[in-house]
């Protein structure tokens, strides 16, 4: 009797794939484990270093197990302030980076989804010209237009402000392109059904387009948050005051090449704290992120 309950589970994760041998599986795992070790060990070592005193770090070899100074080091970095960057605490740096990364990610999403909406669903003069203008900016990353952008920021008095950190990085051709491609896959009939149902442009956007784009938005948010978090060149230029630095810039400033007085234990603490938020974003949004990349809900 071929009862449905007696059939093997539909999911094949616990089964060998066709043509796969047990030795192949062990080999694959060995390669993967080796990869994980190579990637994870430096991070673990950084963490170990962040739990020792400066003296232990400076006297090789560095132990392979965490030390006893974790609480002292972390509280000193977070609340005490770090001397080399003018006594600013890591808490302030984390806040600056979070504001910048969130601002860039959300700003880019809002701007690009609106411009993609206009380009795909509206017929207006010079529509394609605008599309190509946006497209061309793909070839002009911040580094290329850095001098004029800097001049504009100085003239607008936006040096050492969050706006100065965020705004020049917001306009994004990639995100606009991504939303445009997604919107183009939405069948015309759906748009017409909404019109017959009495949904105007705003209602269509809010009730239909936005919910359908949510996985795309989530995937884009993860990518853009990390993009914003890891920005280096632009924040370096546009911030002078220590308390406006992002954590990535501050990390660089903490290290001195001329003097031997780099507080390595605090540098390590800052490095660990700097990686945590992006990891958190990826872990929390992983499900959405993967769905947004592989699946279109239609």
């Amino acid at each position: 009797m071929a009862e449905p309950s007696m059939l093997p589970p539909a999911s094949g994760h616990d089964k060998l794939m066709i043509g796969q041998s047990a030795a192949g599986i062990y080999l694959a795992h060995a390669v993967l484990i080796l990869g994980v070790v190579i990637v994870a060990f430096p991070i673990y070592y950084t963490f170990v270093a962040s739990t020792h005193t400066l003296q232990t770090i400076l006297r090789p070899p560095l132990p392979l197990v965490p030390g006893s100074e974790a609480v002292a080091n972390y509280s000193e970095a977070l609340f005490g302030g770090i001397g080399r960057i003018g006594g600013v605490g890591v808490g302030t740096l984390l806040f600056n980076s979070t504001v910048t990364a969130l601002g860039i990610a959300l700003g880019k999403i809002v701007i690009s989804i609106l411009s993609a909406y206009a380009i795909v669903f509206y017929r207006f003069p010079l529509r394609m010209t605008f599309f190509w203008l946006i497209f061309i900016t793909l070839m002009l990353p911040v580094e290329v237009r850095i001098l004029p952008t800097y001049k504009v920021m100085v003239d607008l008095g936006l040096i050492d402000t969050y706006a100065g950190l965020i705004v020049p990085l917001i306009a994004s051709a990639t995100a606009t392109l991504l939303f445009r491609q997604f919107f183009l896959t939405i069948p015309g009939e759906l748009v017409e059904a909404a019109r017959v149902d009495g949904a105007g442009p705003w209602k269509f956007f809010k009730d239909i387009l936005l919910p359908l784009s949510r996985t795309n938005i989530a995937a884009l948010f993860v990518i853009l948050f990390i993009y914003g978090w890891t920005q280096y060149l632009w924040p370096l230029l546009v911030t002078n005051r220590n308390d406006m630095n992002t954590i990535v810039i501050a990390l660089r400033k903490m290290i001195s090449f001329a003097d031997a007085d780099t507080e390595w234990h605090l540098v390590m603490v800052t490095a660990i704290l700097a990686i945590l938020p992006p990891i958190l974003v990826v872990v929390l949004m992983q499900r959405w992120f993967v769905r947004g990349l592989i699946e279109t809900e239609k």
């Binding site: 017959v196 149902d197 239609k298």
Partner: protein
Amino acid sequence: MATVDLKDVRKTYPSGVEAVKGVSIAIHDKALCVLVGPSGCGKSTLLRMIAGLEAITDGAIAIEGKVVNAIGPAERDIAMVFQNYALYPHMSVYDNMAYGLRNRGTPRDEIDRRVRATAKTLELDHLLKRQPRELSGGQRQRVAMGRAIVRNPKVFLFDEPLSNLDAKLRGQMRVEIKNLQRALGVTSVYVTHDQLEAMTLADVLVVMNAGVVEQIGAPLDVYERPETTFVASFIGAPPMNLLPVAALPSSITSAAPAGAATLGFRPEDGTFSDHSEQSQLSLAAEVEGVEPVGAESFLYCRHADNRLILRASGRTTVEPGARLAVTIAPEKMHWFDGEGKRLS
């Protein structure tokens, strides 16, 4: 009394293509009007103009006597069933049906009552919480119907709603649509390229070709008295046999009215017998193929250079290669002039 009146409606696209070249149709209240024609004949464009999804280049469309040319689709009080259903993929069946009502500001309890009543009619009540992707093709079709019905509009518009279903389901839904339309008494316009669907559904059949109306009438009237050779060959399966007068024996053409260029007769109207019984009034035909479909068989024959199809009821003993004498009763003959227009 929701009537739909089209007066000399035209559609010219910016590219210069004339999709609809002056169509006038008067659809009376509660009627189911079917627009049928080959692809590219302008039937869908016409429907979309009635819906308000496509601008009208010239002419007037009136619903309930009120010209709606300048009114948007939402204010025309129409509901449309799309070919691919166009259900909102992220909404439940309930929300799909309720969305149009919510946009109209219908009170919440009123929406709930109407959605549930409609779902019951369409046997969708157990599916209200499902999402469209969890439904079968037939169920999606029903939800699309429900979304139209729940609004209680003046006019239903159907854009080839059954073309994505398999043959069996299509037949079943065809009957359901017809019954539902009768029961609700809502004036409807239905577009299809399937002549069988058109024949069985229509109160009024509109045959279109190349942007113009070829014929308007009750389905059987159109079948029995096609006004043009196009209608003759489009309506009916298999189509009407059309033979050039020049190829016919003089004994048959002597009955033709002046100016006749083409003789038409339905496959079931040609009686045939063995070649030896060839008489003055018959056509000689050679059988090239036999297609038995059960209750009837179709004989694919050749007369001179022209092909013709004959219908035999039940099984037939005729085999390919046989020579037949085909006789057509004079009253079953359709004569068309050189431009394909019906004579007499």
